[in-house]
Symmetry: C2
């Protein structure tokens, strides 16, 4: 690496060129990707997670995201907005209240609008997130699985894997009752329904 | 639907043509896809699960699999072998003992060979499975994440999401100690490292 120092050029060791040392392992760990809490791949070009913080930005950058679906009513933090702007990522916000522990009313209309964004491949790769990646995200992903014709047993199994001890009967009932007929006409080009070439 | 009955044609109601009835919902549920236990997408073209049974075959068929990595030492059941044969799916078996509850010795060599199969995109779409999709599958996926440079916290978080109450310290220690240097040269064309066009 060369650093211009007036009319001289000072050569300093590049981190990539230096000899291996005992500190390399620690350095490598510090360079590691940190996916957001509860991160997972839903399908080809669709990811889910809890709220992303600055420590997760380099990982998110590696996904080459085009869009983010944010399911909370609170304004997006400035540093997250800045990250999206810098990387040309579009934000779709569908505010749903998630503060109560039980019997939270998931708004069917908001889930329906969010589903349209998820199903439009022009928005992929796409990250769906709320605060913890359990309830609101779990409901939206559950509705995606309904459209993919998964049986309820498998949909709930996946929901519970993320919600764990915080699983809500009301969320599962919402997924079960969700009327998919109004979005069934939308194209589904997910890997779960076709071979990847 | 027409059924030839001697020189007469007898018309009977086609299931697809009949008027909607109260039984339609039940019929639709019976036609639903049933993913195997603990099914999930690891990355573009790579899936993980517990042992697939005949109820899961129509779902697995929809994935358009090219290969299956089977991590148990027991012979593959006849009906599963038949399913693979009918669908042109190649089986890679790496037998690892999974009978003991604790301190199971995961064979590093077998994981290394299995990793080579996972990393070769010519084998995709590919399903990794053992019996429950927790320990052996969790170790292999953990090593994939090491190669993808995930931090150990996120790797263990994912491992524990599938293993839940059955999580093993020995599996996590195996993932932590696994020497990735011998497979680091292999190409990684996963979605987590490039944009999907």
């Amino acid at each position: 690496m060369k650093i211009a120092n007036g009319d001289r050029e000072v050569c300093v060791a590049s981190p990539a060129a230096k000899a291996p040392s005992v500190g390399d392992e620690k350095e490598r760990e510090a360079d590691a990707f940190v996916p957001p809490l509860n991160f997972a791949m839903v399908d080809n070009g669709v990811f889910r997670s809890g709220f992303p913080h600055s420590a997760n930005f380099s990982f998110l950058k590696s996904l080459g995201l085009r869009s983010v679906i944010y399911l909370c009513p609170e304004p997006y933090p400035e540093e997250n907005e800045e990250f999206l702007k810098e990387n040309g990522i579009r934000l779709f916000q569908f505010g749903m209240d998630g503060s109560q522990e039980h019997f939270v009313k998931i708004p069917e209309h908001a889930i329906r609008e969010a589903l349209k964004v998820v199903l439009d491949v022009r928005n992929h790769p796409l990250l769906i997130h709320c605060k913890r990646g359990k309830h609101r995200t779990g409901c939206l992903v559950g509705c995606v699985r309904r459209l993919q014709k998964w049986c309820l047993t498998s949909i709930f199994d996946e929901y519970q894997r993320f919600a764990a001890a915080k699983a809500r009967v009301s969320d599962q009932r919402f997924i079960e009752l969700f009327d998919i007929s109004s979005v069934e006409h939308l194209p589904m080009s997910f890997s779960c329904s076709k071979r990847i070439v």
